[in-house]
């Protein structure tokens, strides 16, 4: 019988049998345990090839159109490096130092990122740090609402390898501060508060990090709790607060409230006109634009749940107000109050008022109530 004389029913039966055979073979392959899932044996060549193509194409396409902000600021690079030490170095190792044998057993092993700044453009680094990578163990950023923090890490990585010789300084590893790393159950890099925040003899590690010394204890404790509950957003602070027990949070809040603020090195020259504008907002508000005077809550004469702002780093204040603008601090009752005020401020006013607060001596509490605001 010629092939072309076969009736179509017979062709269909044969095709069906073939398909059934394939499914059966697949089931046997999957269920028999023949395929070795062990990290120690590596992928099949075809799997590696496929995953690499998927990875490269996905990163290429999805990072397209991401606008890179200016990443040269030292404070930003320090913030990124400091987070790298706590969040990235455990797997990737410090740049150029290689990875440790434990994570070396991962498949794929996390790459040493020494030359990542040369291998990848900033928008790709940003995309990977923000979203993580499937099939590699690379996690996404802990809080998707904090792209500003992702940019900080990107700023540091984009500076590699030239930033690697000063890594220990940037990441705060060499800072003398022992603040907060004593008596903690988990004294890893994450909970060494002094790497980023102040200690008895150092200021903050760059101006993106808030000054905590002398802030009201109730406010500090509330912030740590909010980070732990993830109602206040930060990919950097949520993991830290999560590691702390309630007792440790109380101890740390008390510690920083007691800490005597070291004198700020005032190398920055400030524009007196800007300070004047900032002072007007801080002490009188802009009633026509529904902006109350900041000092009505943040002078230190009010509820200890409110942070005192005198002497706070300007870049930190700007960053937080911008976060409010983007809707990233509406998770707490206190944040929702401030959200109304922050949304009434424009970018210029934010910078002015931040510069004014940064110019005040820390711990400066005005004696008199704030000036009367009037239309």
């Amino acid at each position: 019988m010629e092939l072309k004389d076969l009736p179509w029913t017979t062709v269909a039966k044969m095709a069906g049998a073939a398909a059934g055979g394939l499914v059966l073979a697949g089931a046997v392959f999957i269920l028999s345990g023949v395929y070795n899932i062990a990290a120690s044996t590596g992928h099949l060549q075809i799997t590696t090839w496929l995953i690499e193509i998927l990875r490269d194409r996905s990163i290429d396409v999805r990072s397209f159109g991401i606008k890179v902000p200016p990443l040269d600021e030292e404070g930003l690079i320090r913030l990124g490096a400091a987070h790298y030490e706590g969040g990235c170095a455990p797997c990737h190792g410090r740049p150029g130092e290689g990875i440790n044998p434990i994570v070396g057993g991962m498949l794929p092993p996390p790459p040493d990122l020494l030359d990542v700044g040369e291998r990848r453009p900033s928008e790709e680094i940003f995309w990977i740090v923000k979203n993580g990578l499937k099939y590699t163990g690379m996690p996404a950023w802990p809080d998707p609402r904090r792209e500003d923090e992702v940019w900080a890490v990107t700023a540091f990585l984009a500076r590699l390898p030239s930033a690697s010789p000063t890594y220990e300084d940037l990441a705060g590893v060499t800072r003398g501060g022992r603040s907060g790393d004593e008596g903690l159950a988990n004294a890893g890099a994450l909970t060494r508060c002094g790497r980023c925040h102040e200690s008895e003899d150092t200021g903050t590690n760059g101006d993106r990090i808030p000054r905590l010394a002398g802030l009201p204890e109730a406010y500090l404790l509330r912030s740590l709790r909010e980070y732990a509950e993830r109602t206040r957003t930060s990919g950097a602070m949520e993991p830290v607060a999560d590691l702390l027990s309630e007792r440790e949070r109380r101890e740390l809040a008390a510690h920083f409230a007691r800490l005597r603020p070291p004198a700020v090195e005032t190398s920055v020259t400030r524009d007196p006109e800007q300070l004047g504008r900032g002072q007007a907002i801080a002490t009188r508000g802009i009633p026509r634009e529904q902006v109350p005077a900041c000092m009505n809550c943040h002078s230190g004469r009010q509820s200890p749940e409110f942070p005192v702002l005198a002497g706070q780093n300007a870049a930190y204040i700007v960053g937080q107000l911008q976060l409010w603008h983007r809707g990233g601090r509406r998770g707490t009752a206190y944040g929702r109050i401030m959200a109304v005020v922050a949304s009434a401020l424009d970018q210029q006013q934010i910078e002015d008022v931040a510069a004014y607060f940064a110019s005040l001596p820390a711990g400066d509490v005005p004696q008199a109530p704030v000036a009367e605001s009037s239309r």
């Binding site: 508000g285 009633p287 026509r288 529904q290 109350p292 005077a293 009505n296 809550c297 004469r301 009010q302 509820s303 749940e305 409110f306 009752a333 206190y334 929702r336 109050i337 401030m338 959200a339 109304v340 005020v341 109530p369 704030v370 009367e372 605001s373 009037s374 239309r375």
Partner: protein, 330 residues
């Protein structure tokens, strides 16, 4: 009776409800509202008469005999009823309207530099400042008190968008326009409460932007404004004192003023005598301690989109204390 008819009757009953009460233009209590009322009824009577006349003529044209039709087809009726009558009648009505409502009208007694009330429309409340004979300024909010029988000049403007000031029982509506002052004279005939409402859409909570106008006999009004001009009463009870401490330390003072204390904000309503007002939140809530609690904690539900931040930071106990403090500010 069919369902539709009983439903229509029900609707009519509902509509009739609007004819009396604190916010009815058909139940006037002020000089200007009375004139508007007169004009309204005159126009309604006139229009009704014309309507029935036209109906009669139409019926005659359709059903009447040859003589009626011949008469109706006459050119004189067309000229008389179609041209002369409307011109004369409408001119007379317009003239009377001008006479009654216009600036030279007999009843528009000017307030001769006596009591003035400045009302500023805000989103979504009313800033009210009394300026008396001596030039003394007394700030209050969301309520207007008027002496009976005395013409009072009300100066209207807006701090943000266009609002419109309307107390149907007392006068017609007048827009509040940013950068411009519109003047209105109110003269109330008898003591009592009228309700006012913003009558120009001004954003989300526009419908909840109301107030009460309270007319009082002259002697009571004088006593009231003297008390209103004074500083806030000092709290005495334990709860009230705790409430005041919370008020002063929790940021309330950034927007609210309580004269005689550190609270000197001007963004929101003056609260010096808030406990003595007829309503809260621009006539949205009754004035009692529970309403204070609701407003502070759930303000965004009570009056969505209002500009006061939600204060969910207080415990129930603290809310009770705050309410006790605000309630005794009488």
């Amino acid at each position: 009776m069919s369902l539709a008819r009983s439903f229509a009757a029900f609707l009519l009953l509902l509509a009739l409800q609007g004819c009396s009460g604190v916010q009815s233009a058909l139940d006037p209590s002020g000089t200007e509202a009375e004139r508007i009322n007169t004009l309204t009824w005159l126009l309604i009577l006139f229009s009704t008469t014309v309507f029935f006349a036209v109906c009669l003529i139409t019926a005659a044209a359709l059903r009447g005999g040859g003589r009626w039709r011949a008469r109706l087809a006459d050119e004189r009726l067309v000229i008389g009823g179609g041209l002369v009558f409307p011109i004369v009648a409408l001119t007379l009505l317009l003239g009377y309207g001008f006479y009654l409502m216009g600036p030279g009208s007999p009843a528009a007694a000017r307030a001769d530099g006596q009591l003035r009330i400045e009302v500023v429309g805000e989103r979504w409340w009313w800033r009210v400042t009394y300026v008396d004979e001596t030039g003394r300024r007394v700030e209050s909010a969301n309520e207007i008190r008027l002496p009976v029988g005395r013409p009072v000049q009300v100066e209207l403007t807006s701090a943000d968008v266009i609002h419109s000031f309307w107390i149907p029982r007392l006068a017609g509506k007048l827009d509040m326009i940013p950068g411009r002052t519109n003047r209105l004279t109110l003269q109330v005939a008898e003591a009592g409460i009228s309700r006012g409402q913003c009558a120009e859409y001004c954003g989300g909570p526009h419908a909840f932007m109301s107030f009460y106008a309270i007319a009082m006999p002259e002697d009571q009004f004088t006593a009231w404004i003297d008390r209103e001009a004074g500083a806030a009463r000092n709290p005495s009870g334990e709860d009230q004192l705790a409430g005041q401490a919370l008020f002063l330390s929790s940021g309330c003072v950034a927007c609210h003023r309580v004269r005689g204390t550190e609270a000197r904000g001007t963004i929101g309503p003056d609260l010096t005598h808030v406990g003595s007002r007829h309503s809260l939140a621009a006539a949205r809530l009754e004035n009692d301690p529970d309403a204070f609690v609701r407003w502070i904690r759930d303000g965004q539900h009570v009056k969505p989109e209002n500009l006061m931040p939600p204060y969910e930071i207080f415990t129930d106990e603290e809310l009770r204390q705050l309410a006790a403090y605000l309630d005794q500010l009488r």
